[in-house]
């Protein structure tokens, strides 16, 4: 797994459900996201949760 995806997963460990993070990891890897895209995607996902 790419380091930045792991970093993102670590960072959002307490903020997002495990299921969502796993789904994100799988999708991001299969689509081959770069770091910037991955960060953008996770922030989009986070937006849909309560702040």
């Amino acid at each position: 797994m790419a380091d930045f995806i792991e970093n993102i997963n670590d960072e959002y460990k307490d903020k997002l459900p495990k299921k969502i993070l796993k789904e994100f990891k799988d999708e991001a890897e299969s689509k081959g996201l770069n770091k910037k895209q991955a960060e953008e995607a996770i922030s989009l996902i986070k937006q849909e949760f309560d702040k």
């Binding site: 994100f24 999708e27 996201l33 953008e40």
Partner: protein, 860 residues
């Protein structure tokens, strides 16, 4: 400023007033039923005695010296000639009588047992609270009630009979309130505790009244009619009756009248006291006014919808509100409300005068209350309110200075709050901007009906004008229509295009070719001003639609007919609709995926604007093209009619075949079903299949230009089945999920043979609405129609009450800043909102799609 002392209530104890308490609390003893003397002055010792408080502006209270509004009023009392039962304690009185010995008045258990129960009760109350204690008391009393012999004096116990509401018999001998009171007085404190009494605050004999407390005059004020006559409050009337009968009872007792007369009067006194407390007791004729109207006494003042709690405490009346019938206006914006001039001139907005707006505001004052746009009142800095009239206007204009407040008429753009009952969710009350229009009704954009569940068949709605800056700001920021496009139910749009707007866009994007001038005219009329994409002289409808889209908008979605194949046929790339037909799956209510995507990208304001433009474009398209639905839509070609006739005949034969097999006893039962049930299932299957087949046939062969078909295909209104029912066959009528099987003995209607199980005899309507139904078919159709009508009529209030209870139970729950859901006591109900923390209004049907987020980022 006054210093307040804040205290927290630890607990509240309810007790019963003893006769000593009543006497101590009272300021006057009431002895005469007369209210006023010849001069109209309250009589001393009468029910309106001024020691009980005053309701006349000129008088002062004799007890506290306060004037009207200064004195809250004081209690008085009546000494009753004989004790009476307080009807509300009847169940307790009966229970206690059953638990104590009629001779020694001790509990019907041994002293050791009693002491054991006493200790248990103390323990239970301490450990598990009062509710648990009450249960134990009930259990203990249940144990005592069945004992037939007193363990102390060995006396036989008789059963107590109740003749409702307040008469008791023991062994066929009447128990008078005097007997009961005497027994109760002999109950020891220890025994009373086992019966659940907290003897500090109540003893059993307090439930029988020897003194009756008289509420203050201020609680039952009289009103003066136009004729100068006084009309007394219902409570005063009732108390007057009590005093009068009580006096007669006293006189008769003192005169040594026969017991039978005394008993009659006593019963009458009991009746008056009973109805004074509660005038709705069954088996007691309610006390009435001379007009025949029942009196509203103590209990009716408190309970039910019109009672003190629901009407006065939980519900409030407000000023600056209007109510009117609503009617549609598709030309105003979704977040606007059209109001009549008469409302605009009656409701006002307070505007504070500053040196910058003084000239502007002077114009309002000059116009006064009678001319629009004027003002009704000015409020001086000292708080004094002055009405603007023709006489005062000149002087008020001169007087006007910064610091004054002017209550001006409503103008376009003012903030209002619009509401339709029942307010079942937060979208039932939203903020709309005022638009003053001619007419006498409130005007609402039909696209904004869904959140209110409103239609225009006579619905009325309420309008409120917030009076403070804070209230206006709050309404503007939190309650505007655009902030509620997405429903928190599932994250789909509750506001979208409906009916004609959907049909219009469907037709526009389904291969319509327009002249460039026409297209531009349509676009300008909905407020679009850039049409750089329209380069050719003849433009496709899709290009016209694309003019509403921002150039950086990308979208993939399903149209109505591609959804089942999951083929994303609606494609928008860089603000251009490349393929697909726009229908309710893109722009409709609750499932408009295009609207949802737009909302995510561009936010609420732009989305509302977009929906408004799409809506307008759809309507413009229909206006240009012309659209109607007519009886001709249901015309079928001759050969198709024949075809349908054959299909129906086949089905009928198949049904008869099943019936034949059944009668021969050769039908095999399906697992878990009886043979008869199996037959019914098979028949229903056959008949439903034929109707669906007819529907499919119509759908397949339908003319694309048939307007009913267009409406159903676009998702605007109706479906193919509706058309099939009008054109070909209405189908099976079902009652409670089964074919019709009730009516006469062995048959549904008299024209059918005995035990006829055929399709026609059991409610299959083979004809169409257009061709007309046979009498028997009409009857079956009316049967199911009435069933459906009754079902809705009965279900609505039931579910309404269910909702009310649910809403009351949940009303305090709130999402706190620490992301927990808590109730009013700050007790945590959920650690995370909805257990998963998802904001449903931002999700898609409550689910977060990771794949979609990634697709968005990659621009796929």
């Amino acid at each position: 400023m006054q210093d307040y002392v804040y205290k927290k209530i630890g607990s509240i104890v309810f007790g019963i007033l003893s006769h000593k308490d009543i006497e101590k609390m009272a300021t006057a003893k009431i002895v005469t039923p007369e209210l006023y003397d010849k001069e109209g002055y309250p009589v001393d010792g009468g029910l309106m005695d001024i020691r009980l408080g005053v309701i006349d502006p000129g008088l002062r209270c004799k007890t506290c010296g306060g004037k009207l509004k200064e004195c809250m009023g004081h209690f008085g009392y009546i000494e009753l000639a004989r004790p009476v039962i307080c009807v509300k304690y009847m169940p307790v009185i009966i229970d206690i009588l059953k638990c104590i010995c009629k001779e020694c008045c001790k509990l019907l258990i041994s002293d050791e047992e009693r002491n054991r129960y006493r200790e248990l009760l103390v323990k239970v109350e301490k450990e598990r609270g009062l509710e648990a204690k009450r249960k134990v008391v009930k259990y203990v009393m249940g144990q005592m009630k069945i004992i037939k012999k007193c363990p102390h004096c060995k006396e036989k116990q008789y059963s107590i009979k109740v003749e409702k509401p307040t008469t008791l018999y023991e062994n066929d001998k009447r128990l008078t309130p005097i007997n009961i009171k005497a027994r109760f007085e002999r109950i020891s404190n220890e025994d009373a505790e086992v019966l659940g009494f907290n003897i500090k605050y109540a003893r059993p004999e307090f439930m029988l009244l020897t003194l009756l407390s008289i509420p203050p005059v201020t609680m039952r004020p009289s009103i003066t009619l136009e004729s100068g006559e006084r009309s007394e409050d219902d409570l005063t009337h009732k108390l007057g009756d009590i005093v009068r009968i009580n006096q007669r009872l006293f006189e008769n007792i003192n005169a040594g009248a026969p017991e039978i007369i005394i008993e009659d009067l006593w019963d009458l006194l009991q009746y008056h006291v009973t109805t004074y407390f509660d005038n709705t007791i069954s088996q007691v004729p309610p006390a009435r006014h001379r007009s025949g109207q029942p009196l509203k006494t103590l209990i009716e003042r408190i309970k039910s919808k019109e009672g003190r709690f629901r009407h006065n405490l939980a519900g409030k009346r407000v000023n600056f509100a209007a109510r009117a019938v609503i009617s549609p206006d598709p030309k105003i914006r979704f977040n606007e409300v059209g109001i009549p001039l008469s409302v605009a001139m009656e409701l006002t907005v307070p505007e504070r005068v500053t040196e910058w707006n003084i000239e502007w505001l002077k114009e309002f004052v000059k116009k006064g209350p009678k001319n629009y746009v004027g003002a009704n009142y000015i409020i001086r800095p000292d708080g004094k309110k002055k009405k603007i009239t023709d006489d005062t206007v000149e002087q008020l204009i001169l007087e006007l200075a910064p610091g004054y407040i002017i209550e001006r008429h409503l103008i376009d753009g003012d903030i209002s709050i619009f509401n339709r009952q029942p307010s079942l969710h937060r979208m039932s009350i939203m903020c709309h901007k005022i638009k003053v229009l001619p007419g006498r009704s409130f005007r609402l954009n039909p696209g904004a009906c869904k959140p209110y569940n409103a239609d225009f068949d006579g619905d009325e709605m309420n309008l409120h004008i917030p009076q403070g800056e804070e209230a206006r700001a709050e309404a503007d920021i939190l309650m505007q229509v655009q902030s509620h496009i997405m429903t928190p139910k599932n994250g789909y749009n509750i506001i979208g295009c409906i009916e004609d707007a959907i049909t219009g866009n469907y037709l526009l994007t389904k291969g319509t070719i327009l002249k460039k001038e026409e297209a531009i005219q349509m676009l300008v009329s909905v407020g679009v001003e850039t049409f750089d994409d329209l380069t050719k002289e003849e433009v496709d409808g899709r290009d016209v639609f694309s003019c509403l889209l921002p150039t950086d908008f990308n979208f993939r979605g399903y149209s109505r007919f591609a959804k089942k194949d999951l083929k994303e046929d609606v494609v928008i790339k860089n603000g251009r609709l490349i393929s697909g037909i726009i229908d309710d799956h893109s722009i409709g209510e609750e499932n408009g995926l295009l609207i949802r995507e737009f909302y995510r990208r561009y936010g609420e304001d732009k989305t509302l604007d977009f929906i408004g433009k799409v809506f307008g474009l759809g309507i413009k398209m229909l206006l240009r093209r012309g659209f109607t639905t007519s009886i001709g839509d249901t015309d079928l070609p001759k050969e198709m009619n024949l075809n349908i006739g054959n299909m129906l005949e086949e089905a009928r034969n198949e049904v008869n075949k099943f019936i034949g097999v059944y009668h021969k006893g050769e039908l095999e039962a399906l697992p878990g079903k009886t043979i008869r049930e199996t037959l019914e299932m098979n028949i229903l299957q056959v008949l439903n299949k034929v109707r669906n087949k007819i529907g499919d046939l119509i759908a397949e062969t339908a003319n694309e230009n048939n307007h009913t078909i267009i409406m159903s295909r676009s998702g605007a209104q109706g479906n193919i089945l509706n058309l099939a029912q009008m054109a070909a066959c209405v189908g099976q009528q079902a009652l409670g999920g089964k074919r019709i099987d009730r009516g006469y003995k062995f048959r549904t209607l008299s024209l059918f043979g005995k035990d006829d199980l055929g399709s026609e005899a059991r409610g299959f309507v083979a004809r169409a609405f257009k061709s007309g139904l046979k009498p028997s078919e009409f009857f079956f159709h009316a049967m199911t129609g009435r069933d459906a009508l009754m079902d809705t009529a009965l279900r609505t209030p039931k579910s309404g009450y269910l909702y009310r209870r649910l809403a009351n139970a949940l009303q305090d729950l709130k999402l706190e800043y620490d992301n927990t859901v808590r109730d009013a006591n700050k007790t945590i109900i959920q650690f995370k909102y909805g257990e998963d923390g998802i904001d449903v209004s931002r999700s898609e049907g409550g689910i977060i799609s990771v794949a979609k987020a990634i697709k968005d980022v990659l621009g796929e």
